[in-house]
Amino acid sequence: MSVYGHKKSSGAPAPKPAKPPTARAAFYDLDGTLVDLNLVHAAIFTLANVGEWSGRVAYLLGLAARIPRLYMAERRDRRLLNATLFEAFKGVSRDRLLSLGEEYCERILIGHLFPRGLELIEANRAAGIEPVLVTGSPDFIVAPLARHLGVADFAANRLVFSRGRATGRLAEPVMAGDEKAAWCADYAAQRNIDLADCWGYADSHYDTAFLATFGHPVAVNPDRRLRAAALSRQWPVIHFEKAASSEQGDDFDDGRDLQHDIERSTRGSDGAA
């Protein structure tokens, strides 16, 4: 298999003991679904920390120069967006990317995970539905996150390296659009999992095909087009939101009259009758 996933991620041990193969799985997209960040943020962080100041400026300028292409790609094709974005990593060493991935995950990504999303992963896991990450983010960021979440299997985009340095190209299959769906079908077939019993969670209309693969697709914080698709296809919609703040107003014991108030003749300093 050519994708990064399909094997136990190395590093820190998974928090749960090994289980026999499960009959059901939940496939989660990452950016916008489990975290309130996107791929561009990860790229900027990585390139802004990649080397000496001069090198960083050069990388960031390179990324800035790609903005028009990224914008056009975003409007047309998620695969093209990934390919264009990852070109900016050309020349960065594998070791540096791995360490930056760990750092980005620990310092930034984990703090931006939706708490409700984590809760849902755990609830699903408790119900025997094992989590799988399927994302267009780069493997050097997803691997430490998967370890953190105790997720054994994931699919992420991989850079092609030559003599230890990124070439700026992505290894096939590029995790975007239909390729995500194909990967999930392949994954399920290998494990004798029926996708009709599986759950899929994603946020973007580019993931429509990915979601349609599963018997239980769920649109999470959907963009306008995915929301429209979810409505027409009758997919459940979930929102992972931050807590709302409250507006303080006047109290009932502040002495102001209610519209038809009782005369408070019995009120004493201790509040007793």
Partner: protein, 546 residues
């Protein structure tokens, strides 16, 4: 001091029969010269000719509302039934929880100020006057969807909202295990679970609205603040099959079960129940013709009806839905009582029957009902096919005492377009229930046995219930069980005006393009002399069938 509602005739149950006897004009037999009848049809109202001889049952006219609702509430708080007045039960530093009926009542939503706001303002002021600070306001949603911030603000009013939201004013969460307490088991082995906050309070105050006699009583606390672990003991096929009808608490196993639970709760909890009743003034102003006998329509009524139909037809479905759900009914409060749950509920029930009951002689072979755009479970949402089933076979079929309006083995005609349409945020589990479970079987016992647990414990549905605005995963099953007495009783159900016959087939119904076709289908089996009854809505009516 005379009761503020003293202007209304106080009726004992025995007198009720005589009182409603004066309402004989509410049962009309159609002849050749009779006008067409208004029938709710989803988000529209159709105006259809019914066969000669059809019996039409109209709801009683609205009782006069209490002249001063706030004064009546004040009186009820000071003169409760079988309990000390509210103020006499208070002391500083005590823990008080106020539970409030959720958005499922009344229907449609009522004009502001909502009765609950009026009640709440006076109760909170009394608590404040007596130095009670530890007060929580809990929306008694049970397994219903969480009300949104705007919906809660509308119901409780600005003042309570600003002071208590969101820390001390919130929706009940039946899946927050840490916030649930088990109080024990009834003599029938029913587990009684309750909101921990309520269970550990020194005083629980319940604010209720009775729209129909099914509401209120012990059911308020025992259901409204209870999780699935409790509800499964009465929201099940066996119990609901033994309820004849839901609107007659004396003959309802559902109510007997919730009464047992309520009595157990009362042993460990001090409950001050406040119940209210509203009249049948569901539509007012430009829409008041919807209440009228069509034979008495004036030209102005017909013009308004045509204008209303034209407007509804020419709106986009989304706009039409918004307009309808934003409509606020000019309900008037016709009674308020406070104190001991059973004593309070006796009074409330008598008043509700006084408002809604109509004596009807004999059952019909064919019962026609129109399912409107709204039911308790789709406020600000979509009336999906499972809810159409619940409204038609669950609620409208059960609008009786003594005997059902349709004879055993008879035919029920339900007017609704029946579209395969669901709200993905409010009714996610309904979608799977309809497309997966009902595709396998429509047998309620099989559904209960094979699927209920899976849906009740589904993590995504639980998540959407707790943090979104979704009905609990098990809710569509309850909606299906709700129609079980009707399924057991009638021989045939025909969906009239059905736009998607496959939806009707999924529900186990037959489909007809028009009401005429549905009636022809029904009479082909029941015979040309079959008796037909049309239950006229809006507003609501309860038939006392002899």
């Amino acid at each position: 001091m005379a009761r503020p509602e003293g202007k209304l005739k106080e009726l004992k149950t025995a007198e009720l029969r005589h009182e409603v006897g004066a309402r004989s004009e509410l049962v009309v037999k159609l002849n050749r010269r009779s006008e067409r009848r208004i029938i709710p049809y989803g988000e529209e109202f159709i105006f259809e000719k019914l066969p000669v001889g059809t019996r039409v049952i109209y709801p009683p006219p609205p009782l006069e509302p209490l002249p001063d609702a706030d004064q009546a509430i004040r009186y009820a708080l000071l003169h409760p039934e079988d309990q000390d007045p509210l103020f006499a039960q208070l002391s500083p530093n005590m823990r008080v929880t106020i539970a409030i009926d959720d958005i499922s009542l009344p229907l449609p939503q009522m004009r502001r100020p909502d009765i609950r706001e009026r009640l709440l303002n006076q109760v909170l002021q009394t608590l404040a006057d007596y130095g009670v600070d530890d007060v929580h306001l809990v929306i008694a949603t049970s397994l219903h969807r969480r009300m949104t911030e705007a919906e809660i603000r509308r119901v409780v009013g600005e003042r309570a909202f600003k002071q208590y939201w969101p820390d001390r004013l919130y929706n009940f969460d039946a899946e927050n295990r840490a916030e649930l307490a088990m109080l024990g088991k009834t003599e029938h082995g029913e587990e009684v679970w309750l909101s921990r906050r309520a269970a550990e309070s020194d005083l629980l105050i319940y604010l209720n609205i009775n729209l129909v006699p099914m509401d209120g009583g012990h059911k308020s606390v025992a259901v409204g603040l209870a999780p699935y672990q409790s509800l499964r003991h009465h929201h099940n096929v066996g119990t609901l099959r033994d309820s004849h009808s839901y609107m007659d608490p004396t003959r309802s196993a559902l109510h007997r079960s919730s009464d047992r639970m309520g009595k157990l709760i009362h042993k460990s909890l001090n409950i001050f129940q406040i119940e209210t009743a509203v009249n049948t003034r569901m539509y007012g102003g430009m829409l008041d013709f919807l209440h009228k006998n069509e034979d008495r329509f004036t030209d102005w009524d017909r013009t308004r009806l045509r204008g209303f139909q034209w407007t509804m037809r020419n709106m986009s479905s989304e706009l039409r839905r918004n307009v309808l759900h934003n409509y606020a009914a000019p309900y008037g409060m016709i009674g308020v009582w406070a104190g001991d749950t059973e004593a309070v509920h006796r009074n409330a029930l008598a008043r509700v029957f006084q408002q809604y009951a109509v004596p009807v002689k004999g059952q019909a072979d064919i019962l026609i009902v129109g399912v409107p755009y709204i039911c308790p479970y789709n406020v600000n949402s979509i009336m999906n096919p499972v809810l159409v089933q619940c409204t038609g076979m669950g609620y409208l079929f059960n609008m009786y005492r003594n005997k059902p309006l349709v004879r055993e083995g008879g035919t029920m005609i339900i007017c609704h377009p029946l579209r395969d349409e669901f709200h993905p945020e409010h009714h996610p589990s309904y979608i799977e229930f309809f497309h997966r479970c009902l595709a396998e079987t429509t047998d309620a016992v099989e559904l209960e046995k094979n699927f209920e647990q899976e849906f009740a414990r589904n993590p995504t549905y639980i998540h959407m219930y707790r943090y979104g605005n979704a009905y609990h995963g098990v809710h569509p099953f309850y909606m299906w069980y709700w129609g079980e007495p009707a399924r057991q009783h009638v021989g045939r159900v025909i969906a009239a005006g059905c736009e998607e016959p496959e939806v009707a087939a999924r529900l186990g119904w037959e489909a007809a393009d028009t009401l005429d076709e549905a009636i022809a289908m029904a009479t082909s089996e029941q015979g040309r002399s079959a008796s037909i009854t049309y239950l006229h809505l809006p507003p609501l009516v309860i038939a006392d069938v002899e």
